[in-house]
Symmetry: C2
């Protein structure tokens, strides 16, 4: 059993095919595995019900979206209630005609949605045409921290992971773990050395959020080939000292289960008390695009 | 010779003893070595003219401070002019009676001070009693970017390296390389595993500033034992992709010389255009201490 000051988190790393039904079934199977292994909060990859459709700009792909609450949150709500766990699920959300978001929801052990987050930072580069599909989040204040049993979870998504601001703002709102459902991949046209650099940078920047904020971070990526993209998995949890507690491989479907000792937050923050020393009087220019 | 779009930076890693004269002589010797190897900008460790006096709170230690400009900037100015290089020097600055700063200065190849920076984030924990000695920087806007030949250098100091805000604000002011003169050490009372974790976290968080901002970073630490502290050296340069280009060891005095390809900044920022996607409309709470 977990100690009272620790929580067990589950990371569900899987591939995604053409069938929403099959993808959801596979995800649920792995969530069950994680719950059976004692996870009290299980996190899905980004947009796990579909292939990574932003590889191309296709108006027909908006048909893949669903309302929140909607069929998937309904099904996961029943699962969460049955298993008595929290589920963080990433979904393509239809908010209104022509208005879509890349969202994540925290579902509680009573089956209800505890919190919704709409991705704030939207990428767009070749093979990742997200600005075509996703309206940037506009909830107030943008950043969302959800209670998830013993722990408060910062609900961020993929591209957010490159922005120290998002991690900091979530920590300042009380997050103890930052969740990053992710869909990040290697492109076939990149040399192997560059691919490894990208994966290493992805791990490094998230570990640094753990260190700079004294929080756990939990990144959950998909695996598998989809067209020219090869999703690199490598889902991991880092502790507030930046140490990787567990990490998936680059191509297997798996349910990782990791114990997080919450007392570590206080320990690390006492030793390196960055929150004490922030120069909040001198940060106003962070609200500027550039200093010119 | 350097390519026109690259610059060669020198990192001077050395130990510091009781004699300011001897410490300065040793530093100058290594600066000369770096310049002879082609460095156009050479960076000293933090407070290189003295032992790390903040190990204890001793009013007599204020005698170690000097004005800026003062004897050390005079001596380094002559050296810079002789060698035709830029020197980034970290000094204990006396500003007025009872008013002291942990400062760094950029000295140009004409021997004049180009820019002064006063450390903004001041640590204080057992063995590093800096809040006793150093008034937090209060220049407007706090952050300083100095021209240093082909490159614009963000002038940060040690504890600043743990704050993503400082790196970001320097990058937004046009910094292409962030300089971190440093005095960071292992304490004898910490277990080996924790010591390695600390060094790894120190490297990770600075590499992440390179990645998140698409800039070079240059950290220069001292080496040697001083009382219960063992300074861990490991001075390094990382490129805008987070790759470590060169790194010193944990205990040798050395002058590292590293070529930085400035075109890499544009390359990396085109691929991962974080500056484009920052949500400057939603960052206001970064100016708050905490979200309660």
């Amino acid at each position: 059993m977990s100690r009272p000051d620790s929580f067990r988190i589950g990371l569900v790393q899987h591939a995604c095919g053409d069938s929403t039904q099959a993808n959801t079934d596979r995800c649920i199977e792995l969530i069950r595995q994680a719950a059976e292994a004692g996870a009290r909060l299980v996190v899905t990859p980004e947009l796990f019900t579909t292939r990574y459709f932003p590889q191309a700009e296709d108006p027909a792909a908006f048909d893949l979206a669903e309302p929140v609450p909607g069929p998937t949150t309904q099904r996961l709500g029943e699962l969460a209630a049955q298993l008595g766990i929290y589920i963080s699920a990433s979904l393509f959300e239809k908010r209104a005609a022509g208005l879509y978001h890349n969202s994540s929801v925290m579902i509680g052990p009573d089956g209800a949605i505890v919190q919704r987050y709409r991705k704030m930072h939207i990428p767009d580069d070749p093979g990742f045409f997200e600005k075509f599909y996703f309206t940037p989040g506009d909830q107030e204040p943008g950043w969302a921290v959800a209670p998830a049993g013993q722990v408060r979870a910062g609900m961020l998504i993929c591209w957010d992971q490159w922005f120290p601001e998002a991690a900091r703002l979530s920590a300042l709102r009380g997050a103890e773990v930052l969740l990053y459902p992710t869909a990040i991949a290697w492109s076939d046209d990149e040399p192997e050395e560059e691919q490894q650099r990208q994966r290493e940078a992805w791990i490094t920047v998230q570990r640094s959020h753990a260190i700079a904020n004294g929080v756990f971070i939990c990144a959950v990526n998909r695996v598998g080939r989809e067209g020219a993209l090869r999703f690199w998995g490598s889902s991991f949890v880092a502790d507030p000292g930046g140490t990787i507690l567990a990490q998936g491989d680059t191509d297997s479907e798996q349910a990782l289960v990791v114990d997080c000792d919450l007392a570590r937050i206080e320990q690390v923050r006492r030793m390196w008390p960055f929150l004490r020393d922030r120069r909040v009087d001198a940060y106003a220019d962070l609200g500027r695009r550039y200093g010119d």
